[in-house]
Symmetry: D3
Subunit: 244 residues, 6 copies
């Protein structure tokens, strides 16, 4: 596969260097620094010993996610959402996506009346922050539940599937995997895909930012995503000391 036209010099189907650093901060039950190339996100998982009102007394747990970017994580400084007094539509969309994706990975009936809060905070942005967040949050959540299991507070790990996420897109007419910022801002189509370790889809969100794209392109993008996500899940398991 030719690599000449990606700014990064990567092959069309090549991920960036991906790193997962566990126990990155000391207070959270799970704390992971996830890096996709220059994109760096701190994902923490915090366990709270109660559930939202709509779930009280049902014996089940809840998982929810929040997402933020440091004001100068980006090329030019963005206004701080806390100072503006509201989260943008983009932020809300991303945190809803992270929450749904992670709820698909775990069994909400498997950890009692507890809430797992996932916080994904972007320290440095270079494209793909939402997919990096999902990929890192999976590991942070796993670590948090492992703490509950070690403490015998839950009988078994409430994992249904591993999930990971990656972006795919059409850059200069060519379908490519895991777009960095330069590729993302120049691409025609951007699609974020979340899949399980069984190769099944949890979320597909594709947008034609330039030209609408045809079915053949759609098929190629889904192939790229499937292959990239398999690699990411292998990395997640390796970082947790699990066999693939």
């Amino acid at each position: 596969m030719t690599i000449e036209n990606r700014p990064s010099g990567r092959a069309a189907d090549a991920l960036r260097a991906v790193r997962l650093t566990r126990q990155y901060t000391k207070h959270a039950e799970g704390s992971v620094l996830v890096e996709f190339g220059d994109t760096r996100v701190i994902c923490t998982a915090s366990i709270e010993e109660k559930v939202p009102n709509f779930l009280k007394g049902k014996g089940q747990g809840w998982m929810t996610a929040e997402y933020g970017m440091l004001p100068r994580s980006t090329h030019s400084r963005m206004d701080r959402e806390a100072a503006k007094g509201k989260q943008s539509g983009r932020t809300q969309e991303i945190q809803r996506l992270i929450g749904r994706s992670l709820r698909a990975a775990f069994d909400l009936n498997g950890f009692g009346e507890r809430t797992l809060h996932l916080d994904c905070d972007v320290i440095q942005a270079d494209g793909g922050t939402r997919t990096a967040s999902i990929t890192g949050a999976m590991v942070a959540a796993y670590d948090a539940f492992a703490k509950l299991a070690e403490a015998k507070l839950i009988a078994a790990m409430p994992v249904k599937h591993f999930v990971a996420a990656v972006s795919v897109g059409v850059y200069c007419g060519q379908p490519v995997l895991d777009l960095d910022y330069l590729e993302d801002s120049g691409c025609d189509t951007d699609m974020n895909v979340v899949m399980t370790d069984a190769g099944h889809f949890v979320e597909v969100q594709g947008t034609a930012e330039g030209e609408a794209f045809d079915r053949a392109t759609m098929d190629r993008l889904l192939d790229l995503a499937q292959s990239g996500i398999a690699d990411l899940i292998a990395l997640q398991k390796k970082s947790l000391g699990l066999s693939s």
Copy 2:
């Protein structure tokens, strides 16, 4: 195709009765009541003779969308967003989707420094309000631009493609087209698809609410959407007195 397990009795690939009523209200440049079965949405298109600051002096136009639901458009009454003082994440996600979809349909360089405001207000909800909104807003926007063209304010209609949208999903294990509320609340997977009259994708947003779904299901869902959208675009053109 068997129809026995859809609450509506429809075939798996059957749309609900779809109606487009133009000139539904009198003040807006374009005003369409769109009905997909019991789902009823008023879509208005308003032309404003200026653009947002970030586009000033660039000679191009802008299109933006807002979405709302009347508090009792739904089974049980929802809180009014204006009274709560903010729009939900869901509302923002939907209006961002409508905006992107319609900007794909029109040439932003073809109508001068004007803003087209699309307002999609749900009067009665029975599933598929966002896809009905996109389908109706296309016609409202067309009418508004036609007014500009009749008044010789623009040289040609700035239409690139017709776009329409429909939901598809997996209901009781079976891929189906155009889910109503009963089907939507019971389904495993929900996907909203926006396509052009050339059969190309503008947006694909799929979520596995229950089980993650496999590639074969994905392919079947995309087939259903493609067929349904072709019918919807034919209806749009017919209501506008255009040949398909």
Copy 3:
């Protein structure tokens, strides 16, 4: 009475064509489309099985109203209040007026610890939206309570009075009934009157937008309102199949 100077050509004491369409939408316990000429408002009445905290345990019910306008219900598009994050002073003033007026019509001790939510949403505005809202909400509330009575959840209809509302004003020096938008924007004095079927006053809100007005004018305006409201209450009762 001369009619020459009203833009509408109506006699000074003539209402516009008034229509009340019940069961306009399907989910609400009461749902009425009210039209005063080109002014169209959807009034829904929703029953909630609880009361606000300040009434809990007192065995009495509550009624509250909210009012909104679709952004393009007006000649030029207004900003959406949900997007601005707050309701204007005008909106709050109107919904407080609707709430007080309807609480005067019904016996709050007659329907248990329930809240009746009245939502008045203006689809198309051509003057007199607040008085149309009150007039339509009366019928929607009646229908909602009738559902409770049919289901034997309340022993009797909790109606104290019928109430209706109309605007009166001084247009080109002449007192007139039921101002439309053209008359309203050109008038000196605008007064909204809410009365019962016994001909008693519930609310009187008059503002001299131009010249202050004298006592004789006040008397004439009250006469016009009294006569118009009697007609409106007859229409309400007729639409409900009640004898006047």
Copy 4:
């Protein structure tokens, strides 16, 4: 006129002791402490050398009013609106009323492109704070304009009329003038009336809090208001050293 059933022992047509203290604070162009019995309101008038955007370049001025209550101006402490982050519907309704009333008193074309800000802050509340505010703000505004006139910045005082306001109501079945808190909280009907020194109406806002009231009562209430306002305007003029 019998006085036995007013808690205050006043005759039905008697005002409370009314005092107007000019130059109450030192920074404002006009500053008046107005007292109606135990109701005490600080009314300041501030001149700003510009107008809102919608009036720029039109050569006319603007007047606007804001209203507030100190948290413990009332029997039990109210939440501070600045801390809650929004003004109540009641506050907005009152400040809109004050603004409209004062704009009726002055010629907006008579003081150049300036804004007069009226601030009415209730120090101690005992009924009738909005009518006291209007009565005091008239004097504060007069003082502020007099400063402009003395400085030769305007050619003449831009006064069209004097305006004052008073409440009337039905207490224990009897129409009475100028209700204090005890009377107000026990009354059936409450009406606020704003009139000019010519005896013409600027605003009438009546609400039947208990029983709806008949036309004869309406007439008696308007008589009481007319008489009370004449006295208040005489007091305003006296405090300003003007002949009635």
Copy 5:
């Protein structure tokens, strides 16, 4: 000590005329008008028969403070915080300071599960509003607790210390006590000090607005504050009829 360069003509170590007027308004349990020269602040203390959630059931009380300025308490009119929808950082900083200072004065275990709300509202500002607020709030709080003691609702006055506050600063190179507005706006360093009747520090907040200041200046400023606060506490006790 030379007095030539203070605009007020005061000696460097001289307070302005300080007055404390108790029972200034009639509803509050404690109500004090405090004046430091032309600075006038109404301090009220309101007792509420409950505590915030985080203290429920612990048998202890709570004290909290809010601060506000009337829009035209200042030289030029400020925007009203209630209208802007939020309190400034300055306001929040001040009310946190007042709250901490007063909680240091009283024994939170000595008045049951009650909350004392202190409201400090500036009627006229001429420098030192926050220190005047603390000094006046001490007396208002004392009065409120005295009411509880008289009513035998508490066994003893829960006073630990008297506290008072004063500003000191460097004006034209010279350390001075109790800056008025002219001095404050021209000074290099501004320090607010809160002390007890034992001469101990509760709060010290110093800011070099111009040049950073050295340790000798710091020492002189603390001396001035200590002397001024001793005088203020003597005044507080005298106004309450207590021996110093």
Copy 6:
């Protein structure tokens, strides 16, 4: 000096291990990770080519600071301020302190009509986050101005003084330097001090959280701060490759 009663085992006058890592993220003009023991704060300095409106056309620059904490930077998870829709009083107080401190360090007339935005985001909190922020922001700001100087956009580095900050407090009766979380939560008095490299005071903010403290303690605390800040400024200069 005895060390037995500090949880950290440090001497009363010992700082924690302090590290300054420059160029911590890649987009910001200045980016520093500052660590005081386990307290970790990312300080970025961003240059914007304009000033706030109140400074336009005056030829001078501006510096402003914002502060935030990641939700799980703390022992138990805090609510995200962006999600709550407002910054707490504590946050605003801290960012005002950082801004004032850094404006004291640089010459606002020395870098043209530009704004330097300082963002201090706490990744991990263990006491002293505001003083660490100031200490790190000094270095980040220096780096940002050095970029302007290298690019010849400014003629000289606009540094007036180096500033650094540290906390001091009374822990178990003993004055100590640089409190960590355990010491901070158990201490009686907490004082934050900001000083220049000339040993002069920029800010002093001391609060007696338990017992009020006497003048001798105040003197000892100021001594400790002075010594600690001298060490911190030496570290800042060393990290920048400057001679002390």
